[in-house]
């Protein structure tokens, strides 16, 4: 019998369809983000799913800098800034603080959602240790949402551990002598955290192009309790260099091409969902070139680079232990 969590959580029922989505905004207009900023959309949907009894903690990144500048903010719910690498610590500390205050009777005892967000720089790179630590503290309820725009997009698009193979960034400009400067494959953050924290009850990947599914994953993570983690892929018109109106479409393409699989790991059970589930069940993936050549950061790619990228994605699907998720392979029989 699993340990019963001491903290009650808000039970948030999934939205059954687009029209059932709550009308109120808790992250509203007037933020200084780019045109077509998908990360701002993630903030809006995340907190819309969580509801008014929520505290949001933001690690440094574009969603901090663009959202609370010059004594103004678009946040409706309480929000606090935390340092670049400390989204995990802030989530844990806030959850623990709330619990202590409630236990001592200094505040009304009620379930309050604690959500900490970080970018891929803050989450996949420098905050990874703190997030990992938080995911082992099962007695506190918190959600860490990593909005992954695949670069340090706030400070002018520097390379992060989440930047895809070959992308043009200020740290990896393609040159005449060497066409590709960044030749490392993207970190598999969600799966890494899911695999390494056996008592973490929920890890999921989402994309805001599938808004209702995305909000329902947030609701599930908050309802399930304990430390949880969500990895969101956010097309970034600035860093990826495309027309802002393509934000939605590029999110869909990332999933349909199999570059970013949608899955959740709930109590150790992996489930693919949405378009990814259809791919696992046999629906063909779109070629990655459709996704890559709509973005200026891959404008220097040759056929050879496109083939390499496609081959790596194919490998994710055809050879991995769990398609697109866990990169282990079974040893051949008899060895």
């Amino acid at each position: 019998m699993a340990e019963v969590f001491a903290n009650a959580t808000q039970i948030l029922e999934p939205f059954r369809g687009v029209k059932k989505v709550t009308i109120e905004e808790y992250f509203t207009s007037g933020h200084r983000t780019c045109q077509g900023c998908e990360s701002a959309l993630v903030m809006k949907l995340m907190v819309k799913a969580a509801g008014p009894r929520t505290i949001v903690l933001g690690a440094t990144g574009c969603m901090y800098v663009a959202n609370t500048t010059y004594y103004t903010t678009p946040w409706v719910v309480p929000w606090m800034h935390t340092q670049l690498g400390s989204s995990g610590s802030a989530a844990l500390g806030t959850a623990a603080g709330l619990k202590a205050l409630m236990k001592k009777g200094k505040m009304k005892s009620e379930p309050i959602n604690v959500i900490a967000f970080c970018g891929d720089g803050g989450g996949a790179d420098m905050g990874l240790g703190a997030i990992s630590a938080t995911l082992t503290h099962k007695e506190y309820n918190s959600l860490i949402l990593m909005y992954d725009n695949e670069s340090y997009a706030n400070t002018d698009i520097q390379l992060s551990g989440s930047t895809p193979y070959g992308a043009n960034t200020t740290f990896s400009p393609p040159g005449k002598v060497r066409r590709l400067i960044h030749t490392r494959w993207k970190k598999n953050t969600a799966a890494m955290l899911a695999a390494g924290h056996t008592e973490c009850r929920y890890v999921g990947t989402v994309c805001a192009s599938y808004a209702v599914e995305m909000m329902n994953k947030v609701r599930k993570a908050l309802s399930i309790g304990g430390p949880t983690f969500i990895h969101s892929l956010d097309p970034c018109p600035k860093g990826w260099d495309y027309d802002p109106m393509l934000s939605h479409e590029l999110g869909e393409l990332a999933v349909e091409c199999g570059v970013f699989p949608l899955y959740e790991v709930e109590d150790g059970v992996v489930r693919h969902y949405g378009k990814t589930k259809a791919i696992v069940e046999g629906r063909p993936r779109k070629p990655v070139r459709e996704y890559l050549l709509k973005q200026g950061r891959f404008a220097h790619f040759t056929e050879e680079d496109l083939e390499y990228f496609q081959a790596k994605v194919d490998e994710m699907w055809n050879e991995w232990e769990i398609p697109g998720v866990i990169p282990f392979k079974k040893a051949p029989a008899g060895k």
């Binding site: 808790y26 045109q35 077509g36 010059y70 103004t72 903010t73 678009p74 929000w79 018109p237 050549l293």
Partner: protein, 402 residues
């Protein structure tokens, strides 16, 4: 001793490289003419955002000492020439870091010049450009705004043409020969580009603007909080939750009152309310939460918060329901839904007029597909460098053929 100061007002990211090249070109040309110069960007606009107005500056001086005097300032308070590389910015500038809207000609000195790339007539532009207490000149280079992105630069000669025009406006500082020599020497230079600069020099037309001319509107502004008015710690009051609209059926979110998106837009959505199927997707997928839910279940794009990204058009499943139209086709930020409700036939005429113009619905910014800029530039050069019509007209239909 004399010096010359110039600002380039541009759209963050989209025209970042263009503005940097113009300012660098000014300095290189000044060096060719035996002067000193420096080019720099406004600190507050870095980190830049897509589409949000930003500024770069160039200062040219006769001597090094005079240049240093000017560099000791945080940024120029007045400029001899304001270069505006997107005519939708003629409505004013609200950059990332600014409080309120500033007229495009605000820093221009009396009898200075506002140099713009535009296909509009001076009379049309002056409907948007705010009145100024002093006369100035309006110089126009007939061209569509040159938008590209961060990594893929659009080599459409805009920077060469601006430099050529500048040689005509400020002959005492930049001679045409110096400009052409600088263009040829720079890494992006070519004989063809120098020819474009010469052509712009010859063809540039400017017109004096009197103090009575221009948009009479008072630009949007608000009081900055004083330090003693701020709350303890570094805390900011949250936005209150929104309120129901008329009878409690609709919903209007409260919005951050201190950052409007008046000038972040190059295009805005025009909505055919009769074609709306009430699917909610525009409202749900709008990153700026700019749609108000109306009592009749329609969605009204609020022009104080719309930044014109076009995601609503991209996600709308109803054909021709949402159409992005160039910002210069509009005079105000009034509610389209209210206009439609007041007088439907009049609204349909107004809307039909906006979306029928091919010039107004062609989208010219962002990287869309490999080879796009090469195609556009070829067309531009074939047509004598006056107008670029490439881009994808009628996105609404094309975007859905998937």
């Amino acid at each position: 001793m004399a010096h010359f100061t110039c600002e380039v007002v541009y759209r963050g990211i989209f025209q970042k490289n263009l503005a940097a090249r113009i300012c660098r070109g000014i300095v290189l040309s000044a060096r060719k003419a035996g002067r000193w110069g420096i080019a720099f960007g406004r600190y507050g606009d870095s980190p830049q955002r897509n589409g949000i107005p930003a500024k770069d500056f160039a200062i040219v001086a006769d001597t090094q000492e005079e240049l240093e005097q000017n560099m000791a300032r945080y940024e120029p308070k007045e400029v001899d020439v304001t270069i505006c590389v997107d005519d939708t910015l003629s409505k004013g500038v609200e950059s990332w870091a600014w409080y309120g809207l500033q007229p495009i000609n605000r820093l221009t000195v009396p009898n200075g010049t506002v140099l713009m790339t535009s296909l509009q007539s001076p009379a049309d532009l002056l409907k948007d450009i705010h009145k100024k207490e002093a006369p100035y000149n309006l110089a126009l280079i007939p061209a569509k705004a040159s938008f590209s992105g961060l990594w893929v630069y659009k080599e459409d000669h805009t920077e060469a043409r601006i430099l050529g025009a500048l040689a005509k406006i400020q002959p005492g500082f930049l001679s045409l020969d110096a400009v052409c020599a600088a263009i040829q020497e720079a890494e992006w230079g070519s004989e063809l580009k120098a020819a474009s600069a010469r052509k712009a020099f010859e063809r540039l037309e400017s017109r004096p603007v009197k103090i009575t001319e221009g948009n009479a509107e008072t630009p949007f502004s608000f009081e900055k909080p004083k330090w003693w008015e701020m709350r303890e710690g570094v805390s900011i009051p949250a936005i209150p939750i929104g309120k129901p609209m008329e009878g409690g059926k609709g919903y209007v979110p409260e919005r951050n009152p201190y950052f409007k998106k008046f000038t972040t837009r190059t295009m805005r959505p025009v909505i055919d309310f009769d074609k709306c199927v009430k699917c909610t997707l525009c409202w749900l997928q709008c990153p700026d939460s700019c749609f108000d839910v109306t009592p009749d279940g329609l969605y009204d794009a609020n022009m104080e918060s719309c930044c014109g990204c076009g995601v609503c058009e991209a996600v709308c499943p109803a054909k021709d329901c949402v159409t992005m139209v160039r910002e210069d086709a509009f005079e105000d930020n009034a509610s389209q839904w209210e206009m439609w409700r007041r007088d439907k036939p009049a609204y349909m005429t107004w809307m039909g007029d906006k979306i029928a113009s091919k010039q107004h619905v062609v989208r010219s910014h962002g990287f869309r597909f490999r080879g796009q800029y090469e195609e556009e530039i070829k067309q531009s050069l074939d047509q004598g460098g006056t107008e670029i019509t490439a881009g994808i007209p009628g996105e609404n239909a094309v975007g859905k053929q998937r």
